[in-house]
């Protein structure tokens, strides 16, 4: 499938999500407080998004991942945060 056809299919959705992301960052900027590890990770991912080159989904998923190799001592909370807490 060529670039124009893929753009026909996915551009409206990508545009919508892009504006949602921009509005989210504006909302964050209007709020008091500091960036935590999730926002720091997100801002780093945005830089990756704008960088030249392909394979962006994999690179961003890795950027948001725990890079360590050893099991942790205890599970703690059952849920995931979406970004590595020591970023």
């Amino acid at each position: 499938m060529d670039r124009t056809r893929l753009t026909d299919i996915y551009f409206p959705e990508a545009r919508s999500r892009l504006i949602d992301l921009a509005a989210f960052l504006d909302r964050i900027d209007r709020a008091e407080g500091q960036d935590d590890f999730r926002l720091k990770s997100l801002r780093a991912a945005l830089a990756e998004l704008a960088a030249p080159g392909s394979d962006k989904a994999r690179k961003i998923l890795l950027l948001l991942s725990d890079p360590t190799a050893e099991p942790v001592a205890e599970a703690g909370a059952k849920s995931a945060a979406g970004a590595w807490s020591r970023f």
Binding site: A57, L61, L64, S65, A73, E74, A77, G82
Partner: protein, 280 residues
Amino acid sequence: MRYIEPHAHMVSRVTDDYATMAAAGCRAICEPAFWAGFDRSSVDGFFDYFCQLTEHEPRRAAQFGLPHFCWLCLNPKEAENLTLAEEVLAIIPSFLDRPNVLGIGEIGLNKNSRHEVAVLEKHIDLAVRHRQMILIHTPHLEDKWKGTRLILDCLKQNPGVDPSRVIIDHVEEHTVDLVLDAGFWAGITLYPTSKCSPARAIDMIEIYGTQRLWLNCACDWGQSDPLAVPKTALEMKRRGHSETAIDRLIYQNPRRFLGQNPKFRIDETACENPSDAAEK
């Protein structure tokens, strides 16, 4: 369209979902054991759950002509309590001969803890000793990449593991090649927000092919869509994939993997692909 839903937590769904899935072309449902959303307080809770998976749910699915199969285990979310894990592992063998039990799953890791790894190794050992197939859950979000590598290490350390009889589920762009390169089957889960969208799933299919891949919805008690597989099939059509390629991915692939267990049987005469009939 026909498809097999190879990963759905139907105990958490209403009966209407069975009807809707059957109407959409579903020909069989497979249900891995899962976390209830809270920790069960004793092994008796697991005994009742395994009875639900092997007795009650098959009857509920049968009302809509759907064969129901299941996988048994203690979910990694409950693996921190090693005493309870040992008790649950001890009762699983008594269920393995039941007619709808396909193997051990969904085992794996959640937060990549030492206890989770220990319980995963015990589940793998149990599966090998009882010649059971294995369905693996990989962790969520930031824990997935590390967890997938730890899981692969555990599987490779057990010489009795046959990768062709193991599916590693919930792969994404950063883990799919790790799984496929090691010879295992890979599952792509279509799930809002936290896993994979139809568009991304199709991207991976186009990059890695469909030889050892399946799609599933993993619908459960959270926000999830029991029709995610047929909806992704429609998205594949929009992306120019043929009816034959779609049928291979959403019907023939799960049938090929699951059919390694002789208990997985579906009525083939009732499942003829309409497009095949048209071609004849």
